[in-house]
């Protein structure tokens, strides 16, 4: 963190030094927060429209132009509903659990490199910070299941705990490969290491790790086909069966924010974040912007992976629970270990674009 930008410092010059930083980063965090929440709101609409289209039906199209106001109608509906706290629940934890799910999901965005040269908090160990916070997100689910004092909720919580711990390890190992390739834990430097157009992105060299990371990401966010945590047909709605109104909505928000996060991280780690895929191409001058790094590339990459999330949900039937455990422990972890070894060989024999350093 190298202090405030000049225009912010001159704008806030009437405040003492320490208050300037607090006000500035508070405002930046608020803007980021609102953007993420709005993205999430329209993602719910996109999900319903995309899945509707895949299943040859229309989906919500009544509120506003083509259903564009649907997210706000949903929020309003949930807001006016009563939040019921079960009488034999552990009340404090019952209320705390949704927040514990949402707060880590939002905090992670602090280290995300959004466009060239801009990160809210440009810390050295950014990747570890993300791993730490996403692993803390599981508490919301576990506590929700336990505090509700309902056996269905509890079963959901147990499944969530086992599943998230299993896939976190595979995810962590996949990221070890990324760190080996980039030589840094800083997300901005990981993107910089992938400069040079589409064919220097890491996923060419780390294809197995990319697959493991993205599928583990789907499992971590408890999305279909790994949504046994909710598993409507078996345990009603899993950990949030006792939640209603806004308390339920907060879990919903956390799930979708995590989806956006996983998509953004996949884009950063394996697809060059805000780098242009056409970098280094000889464009005429009026098309030169196509080769320049920009937020729009990041946005397009995130959108593509979000679409994959929705696509998976519409395509695959739900995994059985023991199959999920087998995939996580017996398939993904060995695959990542082998590929880290292969990557070490690449490094020794100077194969691959990063080996020069």
């Amino acid at each position: 963190m190298s202090g405030l930008p000049d225009f912010a410092a001159s704008l806030l010059s009437f405040l003492p030094d320490w208050a300037q930083a607090i006000v500035w980063y508070g405002v930046v965090a608020l803007i980021l927060f609102i953007s993420v929440i709005l993205t999430m709101a329209f993602l719910t609409l996109a999900e319903r429209r995309v899945i509707g289209s895949i299943q040859a039906r229309i989906g919500p199209n009544r509120v506003g132009w083509n259903g564009i106001g649907q997210p706000f109608a949903d929020v309003l509906k949930l807001l006016v509903k009563e939040v019921i706290v079960p009488s034999s629940s552990s009340k404090f934890l019952f209320v705390l659990a949704p927040l514990l799910a949402l707060i880590p999901a939002l905090c992670t965005w602090a280290v995300m490199p959004l466009w060239p040269g801009f990160t809210v908090a440009d810390i050295n160990a950014g990747l570890l910070y993300i791993l730490a916070l996403t692993s803390a997100g599981v508490y919301g689910v576990i506590l929700a299941g336990w505090a509700a004092n309902s056996k269905y909720a509890f079963l959901g919580a147990m499944r969530a705990a086992a599943q998230m711990v299993a896939y976190e390890i595979a995810m962590g190992f996949a990221l070890v490969g990324v760190v080996m390739a980039a030589g840094s834990l800083n997300l901005g430097e990981i993107i910089d290491a992938q400069r040079g157009g589409f064919f220097s992105y890491f996923f060419w060299w780390l294809l197995p790790l990319f697959v493991v990371y993205f599928v583990s990401g789907v499992a971590e966010t408890n999305r279909a086909p790994f949504d046994v945590v909710e598993g409507e047909s078996e345990i009603v709605a899993g950990f949030h069966v006792e939640y209603s109104g806004m308390a339920f909505a907060v879990f919903f928000v956390a799930e979708y924010v995590n989806m956006i996060l996983i998509s953004a991280l996949t884009a950063v780690f394996f697809f060059g974040g805000w780098l242009s895929p056409f970098e280094g191409y000889p464009f005429p001058s009026w098309l030169a912007w196509l080769a320049a790094p920009h937020f729009i590339w990041f946005f397009l990459k995130i959108s593509f992976f979000l679409f994959c999330f929705l696509w998976f949900r519409a395509t695959f039937p739900r995994y059985r629970y023991d199959q999920i455990m087998r995939l996580g422990w017996k398939v993904f972890i060995p695959v990542t270990l082998v590929w880290i070894f292969v990557e070490g060989l690449f490094w020794i024999y100077k194969i691959g674009p990063w080996a020069v350093a």
Partner: protein
């Protein structure tokens, strides 16, 4: 007092409250959660000392993995609290001795510091671009390579031991062999017979 000092005392106070909560909470799940909270606060104390790698790894390993499994077990246990308290008077002398030892140790550290001996030099704040993670990595893989590898082997041993303790084939249990299920092909299960739609009369 600087801002860092205020933060230090605030988080230390919360840490102590959380630690007291761990041993006074009646419900074991609440105790485990207090422990998680205590880990978080100690991670923040490390962050204040610019040991960001240790802080983040503490959260990653203890909060993210160890305590999740701990909660997992504690939630499923049906602990009888009255039974747990039965041994209290029997073990109290041992507990008091250990508590006294810890108090003496902490007291001696404070006493040494008071003598003005530079046992723990003031924390060196890193220059711009200093990476705590890189320094730790360099030390671990050069100077302390053998202890590091020994610790790794020890952990591997623990993993193998834990797995061999739980891996046993019980007879008479119906389980599914997922590898066999996944590798099934359609022709193993169904035989398509080619025949005419109509038979000649």
């Amino acid at each position: 007092m600087t801002l860092t000092e205020i933060l230090f005392y605030a988080f230390s106070a919360v840490l102590i409250v959380a630690a007291v909560g761990v041993i006074t909470a009646r419900n074991p799940v609440h105790a485990a959660l207090f422990l998680v909270f205590a880990f978080f606060n100690s991670a923040i104390l490390w962050l204040l000392m610019e040991a960001e790698f240790l802080a983040i790894v503490l959260v990653l390993v203890y909060v993210g993995a160890v305590m999740v499994l701990f909660l997992f077990v504690v939630m499923m246990l049906d602990i009888n609290l009255a039974q747990m308290r039965e041994g209290f008077t029997r073990y109290a002398p041992l507990g008091i001795v250990i508590a006294a030892l810890v108090v003496i140790e902490i007291g001696s550290v404070v006493w040494v510091k008071q003598l003005g001996v530079d046992a723990a030099p003031a924390l060196a704040t890193g220059a711009e671009g200093y990476s705590n993670t890189r320094d730790l990595g360099e030390l671990l893989y050069t100077k302390y390579l053998y202890p590091f590898e020994l610790a790794a082997v020890l952990l591997l041993l623990a993993i193998v031991a834990a797995i061999s303790l739980t891996m046993r084939q019980r007879r008479g249990v119906k389980t599914q062999d997922i590898a066999a299920q996944v590798s099934v092909r359609a022709k193993d299960r169904i035989r398509l017979v080619k025949m005419d739609a109509e038979k000649d009369a």
